[in-house]
Symmetry: C2
Subunit: 157 residues, 2 copies
DNA sequence: CTTGACTCGGACAACTGTTGTCCGAATAGA
DNA sequence: TCTATTCGGACAACAGTTGTCCGAGTCAAG
């Protein structure tokens, strides 16, 4: 089980976008994070489709967050890039084979599916509790101020 | 993000093995669940490596649980088949690019990684709370008794 | 004790999904 | 009007998972 690597990039991009007041291009975001520009563009498309960022075309265009940082949860980004499908999907094994349980007796979901579903729910709930604003606060607290200022300046240029 | 489909099979096998007193062959388990015999064998190998089941060779051989059903958690099976690696892996983007944070200033993990780690922990904790015995109790409560008896008989034959 | 048939175990392909790249359509500014 | 610059979706390469096979080892019966 592996989450898409684009989730990490997407979250970093949201943090950066929140700090910059003006639109930032995909190329700049890619260079800043030292990742493939073309591939990061795809992740930004996913964020755009999900309505988390808005893109403006032409000169001096780029990406901007559509909401305030404290209105965007980590779960929003994860689901936008990695999808909303739960990791476990019940295939109803109990309805197959020589000792199959008839479908009309399967009104309640399989206990295995229920267990997985419950775990998935607490996982998502945990991610929903953290917002981009929380991440930013943590970054501001743990990274040297001169680097933060440098990054802000580098983005402007 | 998608969990290996073998996890579902492995859990069903554990439930069945717990009910049968004698060793059950991979072929029988595959036929009972109507899944590929060769592929299920691989999942059983993983369970064997993890020490959850013990295999006996030769005639009248097969698989048996090594512990009582209430001593095996769902998480045990998930980690045996799907691996113990967390879904999210931090690639330390902050240490890359033109505004890289020097490694010696990165003693605390990235807030993104911390968030993901925390979610992963509650997910695993949720799965650890449920044992095979719990699943069996649920199955016994929700499936028609005649089918349970039939399956037990079918396994013996 | 010999034989024989049956078991699991690891090595070998096929396939789906993710990762990565490219060029065209559309846009804002000069 | 024109040009430079932007994003967006279509096109390959790679990896991991899924699926299959045959050989080594083992127990039971004769």
């Amino acid at each position: 089980m592996k989450m898409s690597g684009g989730v990490e990039w997407g979250l970093h991009c949201c943090v950066v976008l929140s700090g910059a007041g003006a639109p930032v291009t995909a190329a700049k975001l890619a260079e800043l994070h030292d990742v493939s520009q073309s591939y990061l563009a795809k992740q930004l498309q996913l964020l755009s489709r999900a309505g988390l960022v808005r893109s403006t075309l032409g000169q001096s265009g780029g990406y901007v967050l559509t909401r305030a940082a404290n209105e965007i949860t980590v779960l929003d980004v994860v689901e936008a890039i990695d999808g909303v499908e739960p990791a476990f999907r019940c295939t109803e094994v109990r309805q197959r084979g020589p000792m199959a349980v008839p479908a009309e007796r399967c009104d309640t979901p399989c206990p295995i599916a229920r267990t997985m579903d419950s775990a998935d729910r607490v996982w998502r709930e945990s991610l929903r509790r953290v917002t981009i604003a929380d991440l930013i606060a943590d970054v501001n607290r743990t990274t040297p101020p001169e680097i933060l200022a440098g990054a802000r300046e580098w983005l402007r240029a």
